[in-house]
Assembly symmetry: C3
Homo-oligomer: 416 residues x 3
């Protein structure tokens, strides 16, 4: 039995979103809209899954859970990255438990149906003579590696603009040689908030002043990066920033690194933004006063003062590439009000823990920052769940939050 | 996907309730009806929230959660009690976490939007020049203090009969001077049962004989208070009761206290009952054999043998006012099968803990009684959830349970 | 609010099941279909509840929870087994908490309404003079004891074929004298999987080779019991099996035990299968190499090498009867993805713990096997919940799984 409810027309709700304002509460609290998010956003777009460096050798795999979908990402014997549904074609048993490892074949724990890492079924006991092995291979999932980052798409027809975006991104990523990097550390935290609140929180640093003391030390303490916006009290800092920017430009020229940021956060299926900012202080990394955290630099980078290349991708990832390490974030919805944030730190493959870097120092800024963000996201989830919530106006420094919400609304409209 | 269900017409279900019988199971077990209870009962009536004594000074606040609604109850700089939605008007963050405290302004932890305790917005960083501060003050909630008890109403148009009820109640409460009292103790317990079962349990003492040995010592061991109902074996006790009643009447006259009980439990939005009963034994309080528990008496009361003034208010509260202390109960639904019972003990503001009273003695009877009631409510929740449950007939001593259910059905019918 | 969903027509879904393949995902994952299972399967069929030996004397009771239904199974003063709804007819309180015990009358803990163990109400305080006691007795539940096994049916009109099935089963159970047996041990485990996955797992031993090393030692290591199916490498074992079978046949003749298995797993409401297999090694029981686990044999059995009489009943039970003990399994759904498996070990009533048997040895094989099955069921639940799941084909050794699913589909079709 149920009280009669008025069904929600998600597309109309998306149409009615007021420009420059946050989303209405149901987008963060309705289990039905959450299911639609899984279908229309996570089921229809390229989703960042793992760093290629997590599966360096044939047989190495990671299982990635996207909502109820579990996907095996595995390097095959030809060193290609493959992806398959993590479900046996016999009785439906989960094949590989959540996590990572290395395998020869994929053997079902229930009745030992056995699949090659290319997905083909090679053993199924006691089946009739008429049984057709080639009809029961693992179901493949679309997978693409871009500059060492692996993306999945669950849709039958993935967004076509991914090729174009890949070509734009790859020149920026090339010098870091992420595919050959070494995984220094990985953390999973669960935030008790809707995945969109996690993304919105990432898409502005308006909250950084009050909440992220550790992270702030690396960045210039100015809130805008345009000369006309800078108030007199920040003029001196702004000049220091301009010097660092000029120096970074030279460093880019020295290695033929692309000049200029790209901002295509909305208006396309595979929205993204890439930007390269100098760091304050020592200018090298997230260490105290901007100091370097790993003695060996990434890939072919030679100047440790190489700033912060940040890549934001819709719907679920962001990345910081520094001269001495990279930090990679993926956001995975677990429930309408629970979200997994996975953070992975990568360093030069020759860097030796305890010699060239320590995990404690390398990871301390973002472990602290993630936890601070978790508290903010959880407070916001509680607030937007309150019937007293009404969407408020974004300020001038929350433009990228607006862009995320706009992208989300566009994609719902396109796919609903 | 879902199996087709027959929507429930709550108003029809309310219409079909058999007089003198309990409610059908869905009223206690259906999540949909629970949501309707939050809307039609808790959203449309005056709800007891806190004792004024919990927020004695300007800036003192308590947050009150009514279902998904969080309300800040705060004393403003003019010493008035104010209430606001506990949600920031910017990005929707919760402003004050559950609990109580004292503040100057209300500052959002996310981006530091800042509100005065009168709700007005005074700071919002980086907003455009056209931003209108006066459009983004905290949303107010209806609030009324009656004889030191604070009631909220979430409806745009609260029930109009509250003024009349206030005028009836206030003369009874005046001598206790609750607004100036001191909070001696507060407990929260969660009962795994629907809020209506918690209320129904409170509205009869038919279960007291077997379940509440501690509470019973204070009351006369007679089940009816009319001469014609008293069986021979209770005649002697009844005469002792009549003597105590006559003595209590004199004590009332001595201080000009209203004579006569009022019973308006149903037939109106703000249902209530107030009654004044003598106590047995020492006749003063809930101590062993009716002994006094706090050496200093409440407000202007001078005779410690001042009985038990009990106030029952629909839908969510009851109160015991004794010569030496007061106990205040509020019932807050947490889920269809989970309910918070908050109990607050108040004493004379000059009473000193360890000298005039001990928290242990003061609270022991109702801590025990609450826990005994919790067990009964939880057993009943399990029973009414069983498809084998059918509503049964109330006995002659369960009239006030019937009145509560009747009030509930009337209010559903009025608001559905 | 809710996104519009397409209601599922359960009967059509049942009709569309592909023969020889598993069920579609919603049968294991949909809360709505789970509710239908409780109604149409557990509410309309004879459900194994307890062994009679659990309630040997008048007043002994066990409460049995079938979904939200709680049933009191009690031996009355005439030594008959009775069953009643575990709900008070007054305010709906649960009468007896989950578990077992011994009582004179059934007294409600709330207001002490008192019922005899035949269900009749004998005390209800403060009711009006017109109160009719005989209208408020406990609601009875259909109950039948068959060869010492107690079955319940919640339906008003239980399946009529139960009498016929009882007559077929009883001659097999008689020599074990289960009604007089002694309960040696009982365990409850919760498996995080749909109840049908628990049953399907029980209905094949295709998974035993890889998962049940302890259980396998008792059985002949051949996968088929027909001569024409036996591969050359198993020929020698098959001959050993034939010898044991011949010996078992003689043991049956010696006590007039029915010869021949019965397989009526589908095509009728009360589906079942009974079969008698010899054991390998010592051939007596589940001890190491088939050794006996209890020194005293069951009932009137004199030859310890009496094989394994296994009884499978739809929808929720299976049984192993051996010369020296019996193991009894009941499966009780707790949620769409949670199932209780209760296992009870019975021995000769004169067997003395520590002398004739030890609980540790007696129970070790099935405690291990249950836990191994739990892991398999839970992995399958995770898999079928994945949108990547599609039903796969059963192999030739999974015929009884197919029969269970076929029975289930038939019963849904018959009752929907």
């Amino acid at each position: 039995m149920s009280i009669e409810t008025t069904p929600v027309d998600l597309a109309s709700m998306a149409d009615e979103r007021a420009a420059g304002f946050g989303l209405e509460a149901p987008f963060y609290t309705s289990p039905e809209i959450y299911e639609q998010d899984l279908d229309l956003i996570f089921g229809q777009h390229w989703i960042f899954a793992v760093a290629e460096a997590e599966i360096p050798d044939p047989g190495d795999y990671v299982t990635v859970d996207l909502g109820p979908h579990s996907v095996i990402v595995v390097r095959d014997d030809d060193e290609n990255v493959r992806a398959f549904r993590n479900v046996c074609r016999h009785r439906g048993s989960r094949l590989l438990e959540s996590g990572c490892g290395s395998i020869g074949n994929i053997v079902c724990p229930y009745h030992q149906w056995t699949y090659r890492v290319d997905g083909s079924l090679i053993f199924a006991e006691s089946q009739a003579d008429t049984f057709e092995y080639d009809k029961f291979g693992l179901k493949p999932v679309n997978v693409r590696a871009v500059g060492g980052l692996v993306f999945l798409c669950l849709a039958d027809e993935p967004p076509a603009d991914f090729d174009e975006v890949s070509q734009l991104i790859e020149p920026y990523l090339k010098p870091y040689d992420l595919a050959s990097a070494k995984i220094a550390h990985q953390t999973d935290i669960v935030e008790e908030g809707n995945w969109k609140l996690v993304m919105e929180n990432n898409r502005e640093c308006h909250h950084c002043d009050a909440s992220h003391p550790e992270l702030l030390t690396a960045y210039f303490p100015i809130s805008r990066y345009e000369a006309e916006d800078v108030p007199p009290r920040q003029q001196q800092i702004f000049e220091r920033y301009l010097e660092a920017q000029a120096e970074l430009e030279k460093a880019r020229e020295a290695i033929g690194f692309p000049n200029g940021d790209i901002c295509q956060l909305e208006g396309k299926a595979t929205g993204f933004q890439i930007s390269h900012l100098p760091l304050d202080g020592a200018g090298a990394s997230f260490g105290p006063d901007g100091q370097q955290l790993c003695a060996k630099l990434m890939g072919s980078i030679e100047d440790p003062r190489f700033g912060d290349l940040s890549l934001h991708m819709q719907p679920n990832s962001w990345f910081h590439f520094l001269g001495d390490h990279a930090v990679v974030f993926s956001v995975i919805p677990l429930a309408v009000d629970r979200t997994l944030v996975r953070t992975t730190w990568l360093v030069n493959p020759d860097a030796v823990e305890g010699v060239d870097y320590s995990v404690e120092s390398l990871t301390s800024v973002w472990r602290a920052t993630n936890d601070q963000d978790r508290v903010l996201v959880e407070g916001t989830q509680r607030g937007v769940t309150d019937p007293g919530y009404v969407p408020g106006p974004y300020s001038e420094v929350e433009g990228e939050v607006d862009a995320f919400v706009t992208w989300y609304v566009q994609r719902i409209q396109a796919n609903a």
